[in-house]
């Protein structure tokens, strides 16, 4: 078998490099096909936020507590008018 025949006709993959390239090619083609079909179907894309999601529970709990204490605190101020 002559070496030039292999390179000229892109026959069977005979080494790792060639197999890798072929696999990548296949992936690209299938990804493109997938994107095209999604675009046609009207797809919904979900993007992960770049910043971490922080839920400030502390603030909410304290606000709730302050609301609960508001009336009592108001009475305390009236009852201790000499120091308020």
């Amino acid at each position: 078998m002559k070496p030039h025949e292999l390179t000229d006709h892109e026959g069977r993959a005979t080494n790792c490099d060639m197999q890798g390239n072929a696999a990548m090619k296949g992936l690209k083609i299938s990804a493109a096909a997938c994107l095209a079909s999604l675009a046609l179907a009207g797809c919904v894309t979900v993007e992960a936020p770049t910043e971490p999601i922080v839920i400030e529970l502390n603030v909410n709990i304290r606000q709730e507590v302050i609301y609960r204490l508001a009336e009592d605190a108001g009475n305390t101020i009236e009852e201790n008018a000499d120091i308020f």
Partner: protein, 134 residues
């Protein structure tokens, strides 16, 4: 003899009730007033209500103002501590809740601390308060 005793007893009970009423009238007057030095410093805008429920010195600090403010704040802290325990809250939570109310209770001309930490003079408009205030 028995009749006399009853009369005396009735008299004693009645006079006792009268004394109790008189004492009650003295013991439960309108709530105590501010100390004159504190009232003057407050009216002059030398001290103001902080967001955290305590009194602060607005302008340059003097020994007299520090004494007034410390005295009030020690008393307030004792009250907050007691009330916080009774209402199952922390001292800081109760103090902050009281701060909301104390700032709301300022009258035009008095000083209070805005959420950004700056001292503001109360006008007839509602005061700028912490977003957590009711």
């Amino acid at each position: 003899m028995g009749e006399l005793m009853t009369k005396r007893l009735t008299k004693a009970v009645l006079s006792g009730a009268a004394i109790a009423t008189a004492l009650g009238g003295i013991a439960a007057p309108a709530y105590a007033q501010r100390d004159p030095a504190y009232a003057a410093a407050r009216a002059a805008g030398e001290v103001g209500e902080k967001m955290d429920g305590y009194l602060g010195i607005v302008g340059p600090e003097t020994a007299e103002l520090r004494r007034i403010v410390n005295d009030i704040n020690i008393k307030r802290r004792a009250v907050y501590s007691q009330k916080a325990q009774a209402s199952n809250a922390t001292l800081e939570e109760y103090a902050l809740a009281a701060g909301c109310q104390a700032i709301l209770a300022t009258v035009p001309g008095e000083k209070y601390q805005a959420p950004d930490g700056s001292w503001q003079t109360r006008t007839s408009a509602p005061p700028m308060r912490d977003s957590r205030c009711p």
